[in-house]
Symmetry: C2
Subunit: 388 residues, 2 copies
């Protein structure tokens, strides 16, 4: 039996697994009790009351013969699909219900969607980039080209007609840099994709963090995007579902036969998402649920302000944090050295920029997802390191 040879092209460990390993080694060595995690984009605010109530009710339903549910529909339950369609509608975007697919999270879909394409496609990623886009395509043996996201272009590269690409990943608000595309920027990407006969895989996992009016929350705000773009979204950050696992993917029917292929792929490889989870997600999208999750996101927005204010005082270059829960700053030198220094000297865990790509070397990512108290304390400590 022969192994998939492309595993050799992956880094040995997934970025966040490596960060976790270094943290574990540190904890074993020194047993500190004051580590603050600002690394992996994990939320800390509890689930909203509406989701908790819905979850308990759904679990109880599952315990009674008359309301028990077995396998759900492959696309997800209509009640949740309708809620998501209404959520888009409230932002002026009309979707057919069979353009929406429920999943156990954006990460699974972003990775799984790569199954729909042939090996011989060129994938265009930004550098730095969320590692999942790269890893999933590397495992298929695809050629990857990178668009440089740098301080010079505000970490928002625009298409270059000289570069040929078939599959284009865009993430806005961006993980890891927190940069956000405008509609005018995305119009250029849509036009480029059309001219290339390419597909855009648009990761909108952080759309709920957009606060500025001119920034885009869905690529479907751009005319013609439904002919070239798939959109991935998630309850993870929007509603604090990182431990509950629910996301959704929009595959427009205008977009070749990707909708049919995705349905075929999902029905062959998955049995859908827990009924309990889907009821919790539905509750997060009710008026009540949306008010509650907005309050949780407000905590993270305030944290982002704390981080930005602290970085402003140190004078280091930084970006993000306004329309995104991520703040990206210049730590200089080696990102992993800075990771080790923060961990060892002041017991703060962040994410080394180089883990997201070569252009990330010398940069560092912080998340706004901790508590207010921990964020204030972490920034006090980080300032002391940056000033040393």
């Amino acid at each position: 039996m022969l192994f998939n040879p492309y595993f050799a092209d992956l880094s040995n460990v997934y970025l966040f697994a490596e960060a976790e390993n270094r943290l574990r080694a540190f904890l074993a060595r020194t047993k500190p009790n004051n580590v603050i995690k600002m690394g992996i984009g994990d939320v800390t605010q509890p689930l909203c009351a509406a989701a908790v109530e819905a979850g308990k009710t759904a679990v109880e339903e599952m315990g009674k013969a008359e309301s028990f549910r077995g396998y759900g529909p492959y696309r997800g339950y209509p009640f949740l699909i309708k809620s998501i369609a209404a959520y888009y509608k409230s932002r002026g975007i009309s979707l057919d219900e069979d353009e929406i697919f429920i999943s156990d999270g954006s990460k699974s879909d972003v990775a799984g969607f790569t199954d729909l394409f042939a090996k011989d496609n060129t994938v265009l990623l930004q550098d730095p980039v969320y590692p999942v886009y790269a890893d999933a395509n590397i495992l298929h043996g695809r050629k990857i080209v990178y668009a440089s996201a740098t301080m010079e272009n505000g970490f928002l590269p625009l298409p270059d007609e000289r570069v040929k690409a078939d599959i284009i990943y865009l993430c806005s608000p961006n993980n890891p840099t927190g940069a956000v595309y405008s509609a005018a920027d995305l119009e250029q990407w849509v036009a480029y994709a059309k001219s290339m006969g390419a597909v855009i895989l648009f990761d909108a996992a952080y759309e709920a963090f957009v606060t500025e009016d001119k920034k885009v929350r869905s690529i479907y705000e751009v005319r013609g995007a439904d002919e070239v773009a798939v959109e991935f979204c998630s309850f993870s950050k929007t509603a604090g579902f990182t431990g509950v696992r629910c996301g959704y993917t929009v595959v427009p029917k205008k977009l070749a036969n990707l909708n049919a292929l995705w349905f075929r792929r999902q029905s062959a490889k998955s049995n859908g998402v827990s009924y309990v989870t889907q009821r919790m997600a539905e509750a997060a999208l009710t008026n009540e649920g949306q008010k509650q999750t907005a309050a949780a996101r407000e905590v993270y927005r305030k944290n982002a302000q704390v981080i930005l204010q602290a970085l402003r005082k140190t004078g280091v270059f930084h970006t993000g944090g306004v329309n995104a829960p991520y703040i990206w700053f210049k730590c200089g030198g080696s990102s992993w050295d800075f990771f080790d220094r923060l961990l060892n000297e002041v017991q703060v865990v962040g994410t080394p920029g180089v883990g997201f790509g070569r252009n990330g070397e010398g940069f560092f990512r912080l998340t706004a997802f901790n508590t207010y108290k921990n964020t204030v304390e972490a920034m006090r400590r980080i300032q002391s390191v940056l000033r040393a």
Copy 2:
């Protein structure tokens, strides 16, 4: 952008999706209120009380800041891994905790595991076979060879040294035929895999239905199997989790570097399983939970007896049902014609054998997962058709 060309090699629709489509068309046409589903292997008994209690508690924990949990470990929570290790231990099998990986169900793992292998491997499947094994490998463009499962070999083919294979799928108790391998049979498969340098992917999703002493519940009951075999298992049928979604995969560390590759694949492509789900699965494995789920399985065992008795009266060939929740019988002619006839004439839904492979033509699968009352009524109706 080029599509994965191997989609063209799949049947247009997934077997159970096609059965669902035909049912939906029938319902739209005639609006009957007496359809009985004996098709897709979906359970009907409610979740056990232990799982319901654990689920409600876990949901409540997620609603409080002090007990909220975000992303879980990529392998699954240690509390559930320990429970699964103890479950194996109670059957005399010792596993290391890091040989066990939690997932959202066997189907995802059985399909996802195919990512670990190169395109150029020959896959050995049985015919008839659970379609997921074939579909997942077809999408990778792999060559598939079939071992015939027939009335002559009791639907339990043994290895043929003349056939070269790299990846071998075995499912016992078998879906769809209900046949179960003995330890002596599996020793032959393990020896064959060793001689071929092949890996066995052993689907034990129905192990809890084994009642006869000499039949095997885990391939690790066979000496040396941990050098060649991965085992997939599930809470779906064991504990009625088809709508809750939880399974697990055992990847022995003796088995080349598959354990490391699977960890790398899972951390790159998934963010694990809902905390709530994992607590519910843990509860199903407590002494209390095991007693309760055994009572639910007893309902299905009795249903299987009802089905077997009815078929015995008609004189048609049938197998399964003793150590498995599936009963496989000879309907003659075209399986899909028989499907349509059962649906149209007596409003019973089953699964056409040919959907599982060529050798399934002329056969039909019934499941024991409905209620006792429905099973009795369905068999009264099916007898009338078989005697007509």
